[in-house]
């Protein structure tokens, strides 16, 4: 099937983003459990049922919920330092985590939101068991914000501080097992207004910008599952479809493209909720739910936000990473892609420290953190987590002093990953990576190119095999060229 280029303006693509970003706080949202999520073995399993709470939504609705829940048993895995009676809904919540509130307010202010004078904690009903209590607690901390994208204003509807739900561990028939360590880790939820007039790539860029604005605080979690995106997609004459749980930012444009294709291929689109698959396609999960069932959390008093607190947070607002992105591209001459990757990397801080203290090319440092490490991990199955910040600082120190060439870095890293106790100088000695003297290189080149009938490629290949990692390839290339010419 040949792909036609879709004119997204003509089909009137509309999208709404909802971005969830876990915060890297010491404690959970309403108790003093750690948010590390490291424990593997549960110390206890608690089995629970959920019962529907009657509401004005009608008796049929309750009967249906009742039948659904009656069959389900939820098993909750309890972790020693990561779960207490609060998550188990066996103790009333403690006061709202002030560290989380402060970060959420920072993000709201970075997104130019109005801050309510009083924050009200609400309960959002969940019946899938992912919150032990039967609801997720959430509070609006910012309204009516915006950010600039390509000179246009993207409206932010709200920024909420919310507790994360528990992650599912397994599901067998009607027994669902959840891990309680993720339950109640603080996160911010950022909802945009409907985005009109953008193509899927641009929508992804907007999501990226919101993401790095969150990261500007330096207090958000990294890694798989720490960011999750939901997106509403509709096209001309179509219906609103909500796609939940896009874990990779880079998948957003794929998901939107595929969803538009899907909607275009259907005679009639139904309003529904779909879940994102890893390949960017989506699968049906359920009809679009009505308005969220939200009611006040009566176990928590309203939290006043004083003018002084806002002033104080404003005074300490970090540099926006959108500015950092521009700086990385303009001043450090990083490509757009590399700049974006290093901004999302956990090595960002180390990167900035190294380029500000060592005379090395930012490009080399950034691509070491972004691609070299990834390649070593993926292709050569090297456990790069053993390499310490100190190792990196030393390696780039050696590079700055020209004691190694940049081509030696992957080999040294590989060696250090296997022998984390070894020093860099030993690694260099062991791997024979001391830069070669120019005279020696010239001698080798002379020796190789003296053989008759060699093409440049062949001669370059032979020389490189003898000096790899000890000299910059571009120097070899220059000298071999010169030598063959003469």
């Amino acid at each position: 099937m040949g792909k036609k280029k879709i004119n997204y303006k003509r089909i009137k693509l509309k999208a709404g983003l909802e971005i969830h970003q876990q915060l890297d706080t010491k404690h959970k949202m309403f108790c003093s459990c750690t948010t590390k999520m490291r424990e593997k073995e549960p110390i206890k399993i608690v089995r629970r049922k959920q019962h529907p709470v009657a509401s004005e939504l009608g008796e049929i609705d309750i009967a249906a919920q009742f039948e659904y829940l009656r069959k389900r048993t939820f098993r909750y895995q309890v972790f020693s330092n990561e779960t207490c009676l609060v998550e188990l809904d066996e103790e009333p919540i403690h006061f709202l985590n002030q560290e989380a509130l402060k970060i959420a307010l920072q993000i709201a202010l970075l997104l130019k939101c109005e801050i309510p004078n009083e924050i009200h904690v609400m309960r959002k009903t969940l019946i899938d068991g992912s919150a032990v209590s039967g609801f997720q607690r959430t509070a609006i901390v910012g309204l009516n914000g915006c950010l600039k994208y390509k000179g246009k204003k993207v409206e932010i509807m709200h920024v909420s501080l919310e507790e994360d739900a528990a992650a599912i561990a397994s599901e067998e028939k009607e027994i669902v097992t959840y891990r309680l360590n993720r339950l109640s880790v603080p996160l911010v939820e950022i909802g945009t207004d409907i985005l009109i007039g953008y193509n899927p790539k641009e929508i992804q860029e907007i999501a990226y910008l919101i993401g790095i604005i969150c990261r500007s605080t330096g207090k958000v979690k990294h890694g798989i599952g720490s960011t999750r995106q939901d997106i509403n997609v509709s096209i001309k004459k179509g219906a609103r479809v909500e796609i939940k749980g896009i874990q990779e930012l880079g998948m957003i444009s794929r998901v939107v493209e595929k969803e538009v294709e899907r909607q275009l291929s259907l005679p009639k689109v139904n309003e529904e909720t779909r879940a994102a698959n890893p390949d960017g396609s989506t699968r049906y999960t359920r009809p679009l739910p009505g308005a969220a069932r939200i009611y006040p959390e009566t176990d928590h008093p309203p939290v006043p936000i004083s003018k002084n607190l806002i002033k104080e947070i404003k005074r300490e607002l970090p540099e926006l990473w959108t500015k950092k992105l521009v700086r990385f591209k303009r001043k450090l001459k990083l490509s757009d892609e590399l700049a974006k990757q290093i901004l999302r990397s956990k090595y960002l801080e180390l990167f900035e420290e190294i380029i500000s203290t060592k005379k090395v090319e930012p490009n080399v440092v950034a691509s070491t953190f972004v691609s070299t490490l990834k390649d070593l991990g993926r292709r050569e199955k090297v456990k790069t987590s053993k390499i310490t910040d100190k190792h990196f600082t030393k390696i780039f120190g050696y590079l700055a002093k020209k004691k190694i060439v940049k081509e030696a870095i992957p080999e040294i890293l590989k060696y250090l990953a296997k022998n984390p106790e070894e020093s860099i100088s030993n690694a260099i000695k062991e791997l024979d990576l001391k830069p070669i003297k120019k005279s020696e290189l010239k001698n080798i080149i002379k020796e190789v190119t003296s053989q008759p009938g060699l093409t440049f490629d062949r001669a370059f290949g032979i020389v490189m095999s003898r000096v790899r990692g000890r000299v910059e390839a571009k120097d070899v290339m220059k000298l071999v060229k010169k030598s063959i010419k003469s």
């Binding site: 959920q50 004005e56 188990l88 066996e90 009200h120 959002k124 309204l143 006040p296």
Partner: protein, 448 residues
Amino acid sequence: MYSQEIESLLKSKKIKVGDRVRIFKKGNKYEGLLMPRIELGDSSSIVIKLDNGYNTGIKFEKGDKIKLLKKGRAIKFRSARIRLVKDTHKPTVSILGAGGTIASRIEYKTGAVFPAFSPADLLLSFPELKEITNIKGRKLFDLFSEDISPLHWQIIAKEVAKEMKKKIDGIVLMHGTDTMHYTSAALSFMLQNLPVPVVLVGAQRSSDRGSSDNAINLLSSVLTAAQSDVAEVTVCMHGNMSDDFCYVHSGVKVRKMHTSRRDTFRSINVLPYAKVWYSERKIEYLREDFRRRGKGKVKLDDKINPNVGLIHAHPGIKPEFVENLSNFYDGVVIAGTGLGHVPTNPRGDKFVKGLIPSLKRLIDSGIPVVIAPQTIYGRLQMNVYETGRLLNRTGVIGHNCDWTPETALVKLMFVLGKTKNMEKIRELMLTNMIGEISERSEVKTFLM
């Protein structure tokens, strides 16, 4: 309530809670439903429910404006409309309400939570009930359990006795959990010769959440009332942290042992009567020494003297305080330390003020002093140490007993309702009436 200023502004604009309003504040606009102000927080912040369902507080300051957009529907609770059809093959249980919201309904439009009580409301919330039994029900009163007084015990006892004149197979009494064990003890003494079970039940987590223990507790207590053979006053609550089973505890040997956990009620010094496996509809008996169902008539004996106090013995307790209790009470229960001790100072230490002279004066003036263990678990033994022996000689009551402080309190009120004679009081107190004093201290009863 909002601040007076806001209240009068709303009144002048004819704006009521539930109306759709727009607030103008420094160039910003906020729109939503006006919410009532809860007692906490800043009364000069107006709370509105935004269209996305969230509430937010907007401080109303000089220059800010509020405009009525649309009148709202008054928020009222409507009882469920379910027809109750009697199934003659099933037993009938009466559910009485004395507080503790075991069922409620949420109105998501406003977030309001309404307590629900009628049998139809209970059936709407707990459809399983009709699979077990026919239900009847009525509300006696609606109080926080910490506000329930000995006079309320009398009202409840009378109403239970009245209910038993109807053809019913058991009674469930919904009650707040804080003082449930006081009420259960009181009813145990007041309702004698019971023909059917009387089961007290409550919930530790509010009924407006999917994880509330209300459903399983209520279901288990209704099962116990309808099917069990335990014709006593009992408490039926969660057995552990999971939603597996409930325990049926003796009303005089049960105590709330945790501020918040759902398995807070534990039998003290005895085993529970039974375990109720609600999903299998099965009752597993753990003991056999209970009163069985019968055809007899209940005897109501609700005369009590509520003027009894309960205090804790503790290091530094003042003899004058203990002595002055006679100004307020006709009887005193002291939760003693260890085997049943209070400071007595037989060695004449200069820092200690013993209670013996004060207690002696109390007892000599006709005020009985009853000892109970502040350790909660275990039996009193006042012959082991000199302090105990000294205390016992003053005429306190409690040697060899293993009652809980709360049951001792209720029992003393009950006994003082019968007699003022100190010897008679002592005799009645030390008589095991309904299992409040256990004969044996069984090994497996501690912390279970």
